[in-house]
């Protein structure tokens, strides 16, 4: 039973990582850049939830506000900071993204101070199924994240806009020849990625109610790891990578001897997978354009 509990926990943590990893991978696939500031969008979502919860008391209104605010933030950052650098060297873009990351963290610290804030979203207690005992928030996170992943998959696979996203990620020029406005697709990608980060922020606050201006940093790096493990640029890859990291984390926490080294183990797995398959599990080697 404990194995099952650990597995469910792992899937739930993994669902959260997958939400974040999707933002990295989609932006990478379509705008061809590593959005280092993506993790901090989670934190902005967290503070939005905190503020709105304090005003209204409804967690779901907080979530809706966070999604909206993060989408606006993501799109604005793309327009102001990244778009002018399209065609610039990847290093310049990466350094800009790091700058955006610090800007977001410092702004949050200026507004909310440096001591952590507490947000209690929903305290629903545990579910008991026979000898199985699992927290409700774990179940909610698991179900919600998997539903979101399903919707996203269907969207990308079966809608005109979703197919256009794949087209832009493959060949921006050819996509433009079709009449696809690649800038609009990039904007949409940032909006979706940021909305998912806001959801991840909500899930994280359900799990542990403490909120700080660096709360997005570590999950951001781990989710990036997950995206790379799955194959950066691949949507199913980010989901798989996120779930994998989540399960490893849950299992590792259970084993007392290795529990303190959980983070290191996760990065070790990244290194091993990259040695065996440099493009990640579901990643494909990019064909060079003629």
């Amino acid at each position: 039973m404990e194995i099952l509990e650990t597995l469910i926990n792992g899937l739930s943590i993994g669902g959260t990582y997958a939400m974040i990893a999707l933002g990295y991978t989609m932006v990478y696939g379509i705008a061809k850049m590593l959005n280092f500031a993506h993790g901090d969008v989670i934190m902005v979502g967290g503070y939005t939830i905190y503020v709105v919860m304090a005003q209204t008391g409804y967690p779901l209104i907080g979530l809706a506000a966070a999604i909206l605010f993060c989408m606006i933030l993501g799109v604005t950052v793309e327009k102001l900071a990244y778009k002018p650098l399209r065609g610039a060297s990847p290093l310049a873009v990466l350094i800009t993204a790091i700058g955006v990351s610090y800007l977001l963290q410092s702004t949050a610290q200026m507004i909310f101070g440096s001591s952590p804030k507490m947000v209690t979203l929903l305290d629903l207690g545990n579910v008991k199924l026979g000898s199985l005992k699992i927290q409700w928030n774990v179940i909610i996170t698991l179900i919600a994240s998997f539903v979101i992943m399903l919707i996203l998959t269907l969207f990308v696979k079966y809608t005109r806009t979703g197919r256009a996203m794949v087209a832009v990620s493959e060949d921006k020029g050819a996509a433009q020849l079709m009449g696809i406005n690649s800038n609009a697709i990039i904007t949409l990608t940032f909006a979706i990625g940021s909305a998912l980060a806001a959801c991840a922020g909500f899930f994280m606050l359900m799990k542990s109610p403490s909120l700080s201006n660096t709360m997005g940093a570590m999950p951001g790096i781990k989710a990036f790891t997950a995206a790379v493990i799955g194959g950066i640029g691949s949507i199913p890859g980010a989901m798989l990578g996120g779930i994998l990291i989540g399960i490893v984390e849950a299992v590792s926490y259970k084993i007392t001897v290795i529990a303190p080294y959980t983070d290191a183990i996760e990065f070790l797995i990244l290194i091993i997978i990259l040695l065996v398959k440099p493009s990640g599990i579901l990643g494909k080697k990019r064909r060079e354009k003629v």
């Binding site: 256009a164 794949v166 087209a167 493959e170 020029g173 433009q176 020849l177 079709m178």
Partner: protein, 236 residues
């Protein structure tokens, strides 16, 4: 009447002067070909007309409208469609989805089903393979898909960049027959080719491009009998 007119077009890649101020036009209903050796600037011309490469100076006039600064994605709606060099079909999408992307610019597409049937009729091979992932198509099939995709937007002018590249002689003939067919049905064609013989045989008029300048222009049939052209481009 000129449907497409290029005036003093200059394009640079850094310090490389790829186009040194070229002038040419394509009349409504014509097939015009632009021939020239490797690196002459043919692809550069095609891509700068359609807005994929920034223009240094000069103008592109289409249908009496200055489209020099019009972004690429808006030109499809105006009736321009390009089959780019190297085909550049979407490898991860199926044949059907590639054709769907070809019709992307048409919002409420009531004729989509008919259009796709028209493409399948022209290229029956594509119909057999409609659910196949495009990357697994043969080179010839990829060229057919690229052309079919470009036709899905009902273009008034079709810009073709080396449609014969890498195809067997038999298939080249087939593709050129289809280009003529498309033209007869009312689509104006601007054709860039290495295969000058084939291109001149179906074209009304031709321009010869040499290291970024147009050095010769005229009637395609006359050009086929021009001794310089014969020597330089027809291998005779």
């Amino acid at each position: 009447m000129a449907l497409l007119e290029v005036k003093d077009l200059e394009v640079n890649y850094g310090v490389i002067r790829a186009l040194k101020g070229i002038n040419f036009h394509v009349n409504k209903g014509e097939i015009v070909t632009l021939i020239g050796a490797n690196g002459a600037g043919k692809t550069t011309t095609m891509q700068s007309i359609i807005g994929l490469i920034p223009i240094k100076s000069g103008h592109v006039i289409y249908n009496d409208q200055d489209i020099t600064k019009t972004p690429c994605h808006k030109l499809v709606k105006l009736g321009m469609s390009q089959v780019p060099e190297g085909r550049r079909i979407f490898q991860e999408l199926t044949v059907y989805e590639n054709l769907m992307m070809g019709a992307y610019s048409i919002k409420k597409n009531v004729t989509f089903k008919d259009d796709i049937e028209m493409v399948y009729k022209r290229f029956p091979r594509l119909k057999e393979r409609k659910n196949q992932i495009a990357s697994t198509l043969s080179g010839g099939e990829q060229q057919m898909l690229a052309m079919g995709r470009a036709l899905m937007s009902h273009p008034d002018i079709l810009l073709l960049d080396e449609p014969s590249m890498g195809l067997s002689p038999l298939l080249v003939t087939e593709i050129f027959d289809i280009i003529q067919e498309i033209n007869k049905e009312g689509t104006t064609v601007l054709l860039v080719e290495q295969n000058a013989k084939k291109a001149l045989s179906i074209a009304d008029r031709a321009y010869v491009l040499e290291t970024g300048s147009i050095v010769l222009e005229g009637d395609a049939k006359e050009m086929m009998n021009n001794d310089d052209i014969k020597k330089a481009y027809l291998g005779e």
